[in-house]
């Protein structure tokens, strides 16, 4: 009998193969986080011994941790996968401010940039690592999620997916978002990383890092672009991250968990959900659904 992880793995591989078999020009959205690492691992398994027949796309907001970018480049090189980096140059030129206007920053450098990248390259299907357990708004999204013109999500017009038989047919201007990890939980992801020995960005493990506190969030200063305000000072602390994003928008947690087992152990005891570390989601409770309708992943 197969274990829970076996079944999740097989289903995700089936979804990846289905995407490649049915879509004209698919792409894998690579965000460098642990879910992306799992996704890439599954992609390599799905098409072995062939090289994955699709590229990876990283939408870079230019505010990612430096360790993330190093990890990204090394991974693409070692795994021999084509990597496309997309930066919304116009947005960067205008200058967004992740500190004082986080929602605009996310909208311009993430949502808008992703839409532009997909359109520019003509990708008809974008595979992402989002999981349904991350947020109530994601609980109802399909594995193959149809996006209309403008890449908008219409929660009321979703296609049923009985038996995992996916309808991938598209009209002009329509695209698909595909979520092979839909049925995984955060715990599943970590257990699978452990079982398969998948490498993840070291930021997930506790280490002494230069921290400061702003608006109640514990931040790790990754570069000089954000000046410290009066009263703020850098304090070295043992911290790690549960989720990775733009550094000024990603809160760290104090932790001694320096290896994989301790990280999972801490997670099993924790009483706070994963996205709570993301400053951008703290607005009204509906913020995720609203962002999705606008075309956010």
């Amino acid at each position: 009998m197969h274990t829970h992880l076996d079944r999740l793995e097989a289903e995700s591989i089936r979804i990846l193969r289905e995407t490649v078999a049915e879509c004209r020009k698919p792409v894998l959205l690579y965000s460098i986080g642990k879910d992306s690492s799992v996704l890439l691992h599954l992609l390599l398994k799905a098409f072995h011994p062939a090289k994955p027949p699709l590229p990876m796309l990283h939408v870079n907001t230019t505010w990612k941790f430096r360790e993330m970018i190093e990890f990204r480049d090394r991974t693409a090189r070692e795994k021999n996968v084509d990597l496309i980096e997309y930066i919304n140059q116009e947005g960067v030129r205008q200058g967004t401010d992740p500190v004082h206007d986080a929602s605009r920053h996310t909208y311009v450098l993430k949502t808008q940039a992703l839409r532009a990248a997909l359109t520019e390259h003509g990708f008809d299907a974008a595979i992402g690592g989002a999981r349904r357990d991350e947020d109530p708004a994601r609980a109802k999204e399909r594995v193959f999620s149809l996006r209309g013109a403008g890449q908008r999500w219409e929660p009321r017009k979703q296609r049923p997916e009985p038996w995992g038989v996916y309808n991938t047919r598209l009209a002009q201007d329509e695209t698909l978002r595909v979520f092979p990890l839909s049925d995984w939980t955060e715990l599943d992801v970590w257990l699978y990383i452990r079982r398969e020995g998948i490498e993840v960005v070291p930021l997930y493990f506790a280490k002494e890092r230069p921290t400061f506190v702003r608006n109640g969030a514990l931040l790790v200063r990754d570069d000089e672009r954000v000046p410290l305000e009066p009263g703020e000072k850098l304090v070295p602390k043992m911290v790690r991250f549960r989720t990775l994003g733009c550094w000024p928008l990603t809160a760290a947690v104090e932790s001694d968990a320096a290896d994989l087992d301790s990280v999972i152990g801490e997670m099993l005891d924790t009483r706070e959900s994963e996205r709570a570390g993301r400053i951008i989601d703290l607005d009204p409770s509906d913020s995720m659904e609203r962002k999705k309708r606008e075309g956010y992943f």
Binding site: A21, A50, P160, D183, S285
Partner: protein, 634 residues
């Protein structure tokens, strides 16, 4: 000091192996997929939310958010509304209903649970399909005050149709019947009867109260007469038969050809086991070969079994494509193109027999039509009702005909090889889903006659390529006039032609047909079939039909074949056509004497990319005809 630090080290040393053991246990736990359903006010979301909270599986920040939201949207007078832990969409909060299947995930050290939380509202019955299709257990909520109601029957019937063989009836709101044992016992009996009537093998029941957390995680003192397991323990321990066929079968999903040296067939095994050296048959072609390698991820496997995603290589260079099924040749799946099936209709536009859809099943997509609705099933009584169409949420038993044969197993033996969806060719919507019950042998009785003289031979002695010119446009746009001119010129040039005119065909071949949706489809189908026969005779066929709907013209194109079909759009504005009104029909329609007249009471859907586009209000009929002849002859 020393003692303290020794103790700490000791604790740490003890904790690490304990953690490692726990992680190993978690890594090896199994899954239960269940569908949760019930009528709209039975308190389904509340039950699930409360179960998760009681079991300590809801993070603090999400609990806090729920308590905040309860004050704004809650239905518990500002007190904690556990349903809000689950309802994710703005619209459903505003409406207070759960409009779509929501997927929930939780787990204990024993088992991981994947829950399809199905909508209770009658109009969203169709949304249960996704949830029920993958469920190993159905949990049906019953309101203790009402007992088994219509929606309970409908949900149980859908679970049964989707092959869910174990159902748990959670009899909720027991507090509102004062934990009355006799009343509970009567409901339990009703539920068992319902399951029996539907052919569900195993039925269980648990008395609960979501509001008071009775029998969710712990035995409730309020129900001393209940000796079974509380809900969570039941879910952790219930045995479910994952029915997979014993014989090996793998629908080919992707042909992996990185270079000329390697050719592998990737897919997920739906039944049985496979190992290198096994003989296999490829269906529907029937070619035989032998497995040389079984690859799982990057590893060479000694064997693989149902549920695993693998890549196989074969000993022989044979033609295998996506959609084919590689199988055990001693117990192969059947091959058929005609089926008896159960069909659940999902779309607001009704199913019409004879209309052409796409069917997707496992890894295969193919043209399909429902040739006959045998009967519709009454959701309340399971009675068989006569039906000519199926509306949204209705279930029927139908005959299904595919464009070519596929390898399949009946749904009750194999969900993956027997479960399908139907897709509308125009809207691309998933309009229906169903189960292949058995193959119809019709094909074997009506063999295709082996024809020695074929279309190409007949066309050759006429010195032409058979074509179908399909003239479409409003009444009065000039279709018949132009088609007549085209035919005359072709004849003059020595071509062999035939003209099929809408009005004339309706006087003869199709005089039994009216103007209902079903009759319109049949009208076009017959004309397209006749046109196809005449093309087989080697003729150039001119069809002059208003054919206002894209779907109809698409059907004709599909039947006739892309290669020989040319859509000719005779385009003139409605005003111009109405002014001409050669037959006086517009006047009658305006006077209300003709219902559904195209352009007045019924729409005309202009072609999006016709092969030929004529503007008959700007060019003369003669010029239009010349253009058509020129394009055809060139």
């Amino acid at each position: 000091m020393k003692a303290t630090s020794d103790t700490m080290v000791g604790e740490l040393e003890a904790a690490a192996p304990a953690l490692a053991a726990r992680l190993a246990a978690l890594e090896n736990r199994d899954t239960l997929r269940f569908a949760m359903c019930g009528s709209v006010d039975d308190g389904k979301s509340t039950l699930l939310g409360r179960l998760l909270a009681e079991a300590g599986m809801v993070p603090d920040d999400r609990l806090a958010q729920m308590i905040r939201d309860s004050k704004k949207h809650g239905t518990c007078g500002g007190g904690p509304d556990y349903a809000l832990l689950l309802d994710g969409l703005e619209a459903e909060r505003e409406q207070g209903i759960t409009i779509d299947v929501a997927w929930r995930y939780f787990g204990t050290d024993r088992r991981a649970f994947i829950v399809a939380d199905c909508p209770g509202h009658a109009q969203y019955t169709r949304n249960m399909a996704s949830g029920a299709s993958s469920a190993e257990l159905g949990v049906v909520l019953v309101d203790a005050r009402a007992g088994v109601v219509t929606q309970t029957r409908r949900h149980a019937a859908i679970l049964a149709m989707f092959g869910v063989q174990r159902v748990l009836f959670a009899v909720n709101k027991l507090d509102l019947i004062d934990y009355n044992h006799a009343r509970y016992h009567a409901i339990e009996h009703e539920c068992a009867q319902l399951a029996h009537d539907l052919g569900i093998e195993h039925a269980d029941a648990i008395p609960v109260s979501a509001i008071n957390a009775d029998n969710l995680v712990k035995h409730s003192p309020a129900t001393p007469w209940y000796t079974g397991k509380p809900l969570l323990e039941y879910l952790e321990t219930v045995r479910v038969d994952r029915k997979v066929d014993a014989a090996f079968a793998l629908p080919v999903q992707w042909v992996n050809r990185p270079d000329h040296k390697f050719r592998g067939y990737a897919g997920t095994i739906v039944g049985g086991r496979v190992a290198p050296g096994n003989e296999v048959v490829v269906l529907p072609s029937g070619r035989l070969s032998r497995v040389t390698r079984v690859i799982g991820g990057s590893a060479e496997l000694e064997a693989a079994e149902a549920g695993q995603a693998v890549t196989l290589t074969l000993a022989d260079q044979i033609d295998v494509s996506r959609g084919d099924v590689i199988a055990d040749p001693t117990l192969p799946p059947e091959v058929a193109a005609q089926f008896a099936c159960h069909l659940l209709w999902l779309d607001d536009t009704a199913l019409l027999p004879g209309r052409r859809y796409l069917m997707k099943r496992a890894t295969h997509t193919i043209g399909a039509q429902v040739t006959e609705i045998k009967y519709r099933i009454d959701p309340d009584t399971q009675a068989q009702l006569a039906a000519t169409r199926l509306g949204a949420n209705e279930i029927g038993v139908c005959n299904l005909s595919l464009d070519s044969e596929i390898a399949f197993r009946p749904y009750q033996d194999d969900r993956r090889l027997g479960g399908f969806i139907l897709i509308d060719r125009d809207t691309n919507a998933t309009v229906g889903c169903g189960t292949l019950d058995f193959g119809l042998r019709r094909d074997r009785n009506v063999q295709w006659q082996q024809l020695d003289v074929d279309r190409a031979a007949r066309a050759k002695i006429k010195g032409q390529s058979p074509r179908c010119l399909w003239f479409t446009g409003l009444s009065g746009a000039g279709k018949s006039t132009i088609a007549n001119l085209v035919e005359r010129r072709l004849l003059a040039d020595g071509f062999h032609t035939i003209l099929l005119d809408g009005d004339n065909v309706r006087h003869g071949l199709n005089r039994d047909l009216g103007f209902t949706d079903a009759d319109r489809v049949e009208n076009i189908r017959r004309v397209a079939e006749v046109a196809k026969l005449m093309m087989d005779a080697g003729l150039i066929v001119l069809v002059s039909f208003i054919s206002p709907f894209r779907a109809e013209r698409r059907m004709a194109r599909d039947l006739i074949g892309e290669a020989g079909f040319m859509e000719v759009f005779v385009d003139a504005p409605l005003g111009v056509c109405e002014e001409r009104d050669v037959k006086g029909l517009y006047a009658k329609a305006r006077a209300g004497k003709i219902a559904n007249f195209t352009g007045i009471g019924s729409p005309y859907e202009a072609p999006e990319s016709p092969e030929i586009h004529l503007r008959s209000d700007q060019e003369s009929a003669s010029d239009c005809a010349s253009r058509v002849v020129k394009i055809l002859v060139d």
